[in-house]
């Protein structure tokens, strides 16, 4: 039933890198949640379960030929738009945002699915679109519309992090197809004055303040500013060798916010020091470069597009999350793939890994 070549071409490097990160993540979640007083299954066990479940899904996805995704792509897209509208109408509200949709037996977060769906949709669109000599502004009109619709819907939730990510993924995939220089210039010519106009004329002072707080969280010592300061203290106080496993004072005394999810990297950096973060970042870099290598090796345009989409999805997650906890980027709720606690993020990332595996395994078929 399964082609023998598929087994022999199984991408062990990819799966090893992913499992490696996952296991470091589980170890870290154990430490990050060591001080939580809670009944029931501890977080690190749950994360192990999610990891196993995720790997299973990734294998299932990998076993399917990714070309079937092309056939369903617009159906996925339509279904997702419906789900996003449904979230806005009947979604579950928590922490000031409406992101979850209760489907009776389980809850889904459609904005999370959007990341995969937009990759598939863009891959499908660009696969059949031939921009000679690179994409012009006109060529971008339709894909940008395809992008704008769900982005506006998730901005309404509001989920700024996912919106940013989806835009970055879409732009990265477009880059893979290639822009004309004139497109880049005219794009800049339109957006820069537009942004300035919005800022100078349209926005009220309190809105400007909010944007400034967002760009530079340390402006506000309370709220998100406080979290970033504490996170930087955690990372910085780790030093070169770190404070030792389960010995980070910032994390064990709970000075860090959401330390098992979005700020998991801070916990790791505090306890393992620069040595630890260097190794972790090198593993992540290897994963990303391996993903790009899969795209390069693939002799199929659809496969290349999908591989670049998935790889840049992981890349932007990593950069935005780590950038946030070390005070380089604004605070947006973006998890660190395979590392932060959370089922949704794990499944999304694993589906992505499945797609990559599927492409990598089939590299000799075309």
């Amino acid at each position: 039933m399964i082609d023998r070549r598929l087994v022999t071409n199984f991408d062990w490097a990819l799966i090893a890198l992913v499992i490696g990160i996952c296991l470091i993540g589980v170890l870290n979640i154990y430490s990050a949640s060591a001080v939580y007083s809670m009944s029931g299954t501890p977080y690190y066990i749950k994360q192990l379960n999610w990891m196993a479940f995720g790997l299973l899904i990734s294998l299932i996805v990998a076993s399917l030929d990714y070309h079937i995704l092309e056939d369903f792509s617009y159906w996925f897209y339509a279904l997702l738009i419906i789900l996003l509208i449904a979230v806005l109408l009947i979604g579950k509200r928590s922490l000031g945002a409406t992101r979850w949709l209760n489907l009776g037996f389980f809850s889904v977060q459609p904005s999370e699915l959007l990341k995969i769906v937009i990759i598939i949709t863009f891959a499908r669109y660009f696969n059949n679109y031939h921009a000679i000599g690179g994409l012009t502004l006109k060529d971008m009109l339709f894909p940008l519309t395809l992008l704008a619709l769900p982005v506006i819907l998730i901005m309404k939730q509001p989920d700024l992090g996912t919106a940013t990510l989806v835009i970055l993924i879409a732009l990265s995939m477009s880059f893979y197809i290639g822009f004309r220089w004139s497109t880049v210039f005219s794009f800049a010519l339109i957006t820069v004055p537009l942004a300035w106009f919005t800022w100078a004329v349209y926005m009220k002072p309190y809105q400007k303040n909010r944007v400034l707080d967002f760009i530079n969280p340390e402006r506000s010592r309370l709220g998100s500013g406080y979290h970033i300061i504490q996170s930087k203290i955690a990372v910085g106080s780790g030093g070169f060798w770190g404070k030792g496993y389960v010995k980070g004072t910032q994390s064990q005394l709970r000075f860090l916010p959401e330390q098992h999810t979005d700020f998991a990297f801070s916990v790791f950096a505090e306890e393992w020091g620069f040595l630890g973060t260097l190794i972790l970042i090198m593993i992540y870099l290897s994963l990303i470069l391996w993903g790009l290598n899969i795209a390069r090796r693939c002799n199929d345009r659809l496969g290349g597009l999908l591989a670049v989409g998935v790889t840049t999805m992981l890349f932007w997650h990593i950069v935005i999350n780590i950038g946030m906890v070390i005070g380089l980027f604004p605070v947006v709720g973006v998890p660190l793939p395979f590392f932060s606690y959370g089922g949704t993020s794990m499944i999304t990332s694993m589906v992505g890994v499945g797609i990559l595996q599927s492409i990598s395994m089939r590299r000799f078929m075309f």
């Binding site: 504490q230 950096a269 020091g273 870099l285 470069l289 790009l292 390069r296 005070g327």
Partner: protein, 644 residues
Amino acid sequence: MINEKRYVRELAQSKQRTIPLAFVVTLIFILLLMRLLYLQIIKVDDYRARSENNRLRFLPVAASRGALMDRNGTVLVNNRPSFSLTIIPQEVKDVELMIDRLSVLLKLDRSDITERWKKAKGRARYYPVVIAVNLSRDQVEIVEENKLSLPGVEISIKPVREYAFQTSAAHLLGYIGEISDKELEDKAYSNYNLADYVGKNGIEKAWESELHGNDGGRQLEVDSRGRVLRVLAETTPTVGNSIVLTIDSRLQRIAEQAFGEKAGSAVVMDVTNGEVLAFVSSPTFDPSLFAGRIPTDIWNKYLDDKRHPLENKALTGQYPPGSTFKIVTALAGLEAGIINENTTIVDPGYYELGNRRFRDWKPGGHGVVNLKKSLKESCDTYYYQLGEKLGVDRIAQMANQFHLGKEMGIGLQHEKKGLIPTSEWKMKRFGQKWFIGETLPVAIGQGYVLTTPVQLASMVATVANEGTIYRPRLVKKIVDPDGKLIKELSPEILGTTNISHASFKKVKQGMYAVVNEPGGTGANARLWDVKVAGKTGTSQVVKLGEDRKRAVAYQHKDHGLFVAFAPFDKPEIAVAVVVEHGGGGGAVAAPIAGRIIRTYFDLKKPALIKDKEKKTVEDDEEDTEAESKADETKKRSSSQQGDE
């Protein structure tokens, strides 16, 4: 086919684009690593300090205050436990509700509690906030019984001052109170915390740094909500040092009793070294009331009392010295060669200067008067004519030799320096030249002249020891909590007079006559076994002229003064007594001085101590007091036997 070719070409171009993508990705990762390098290696010390600062807290533990003792080692002020009610904010869910419950349960004033609570707002949540002090045993019991339903509420034991002899020597000892906001801002109190107790007055304030001790503390690890997780280190507080005063508490109490209800002051000094043996300001007050919030009615009672109980009269009371100043005028006359012991005048009862008549206190006059008689009978006319010959500046020079008109530097707050007028002073002060008519009152210690009881005692001491001015001292030594000597304070000489032995001798003989010869004004201070020498004084508060004999309002009555030293042949102590608005010095002040001198010499005789003490105890003190004092007496007499 063309399409396929194009497909392959486009695919190849796209595949090439993964190379710049890889570059961008690597670059951004390097950027992240550089940032991590900056935070974790370059700025590590800064962030490590901040993380330590996050988790470590310091909770001070107040040191126990040192004791105050008298020269014999009798404890005058010490600590007793006092119970305060504290709330640990992090353990109380609804503080307002808790305050309501406590105020009802313990019958406490809610506004007091709320005020204390508000003052502590914004402090760390693990830090106990004192919301009520000086709880009674009953209140403590109620809290203990309801402990389970009062989470986060605790009774803390804080030492408070206990005064062994209640109001005795209150002005000297001073009192302590909660540190004020103003003091907290002061650099001198930089180590102090809110709700700490500090000396507010007297020795308690002047020797705060010795008495306070070193606060200890606990280093705590707290979490992000300020909850204490564990104690990392602990330093125990060290008890403050004790101050051994120069006063003899027995002499002090008897001197206070001698005043009865009268207002005034008495200072007793050792003429050989300046040690103050008794330091009385009457009436006195209860210093223990000042530790907490003083009840309004008592506070008002103190303020309304026209005898001014809160005023330290020995140091801040400035009185015209009256005839006691004749000692100074006489010495000035002798040293200037204007008079000698044989110089006589005839006193008709007044002295005429120009067309003004200056009256003597004795309407008929004293007849023929020489120096000795002038002191003995306190003849004003003698000093009017002497003053006129001397002029004000020569009198002032002599007074200044005795350090009158200057601060004695006794080491307590608010010391007053009195006033010795000169012509220069008047020009500066009023822009007028001095009139000879103003010299005559100065010669008898009236007019502008002002002195404090401490200055008068020092003056007499200097006469007694013939020329050495010692700084009056209140503190004998500082000892550590175990009684080991830390510092002994030695006598300090402020200056010496250049007055001849002969002049001193003549004046002293006159002072002897005041007490011991018929017609002397100080006969009330005479003792059967000790030769006392002294000088009376009656200083006018207002000029009443011929109407002096009429009944006048309290605050217009004369001050009665008496200064003395004893024994005459080999002086040991000097005494100055001022009775405010008491009338003639010979009548009201001399008996008090007599009783003080009597007691001083009685206390020197070991055999007599017991009887005397017992009598005092039965007369004036409560039963509980009696026991403790009997113990003291035993201790003291045994130690004294050891000395001899």
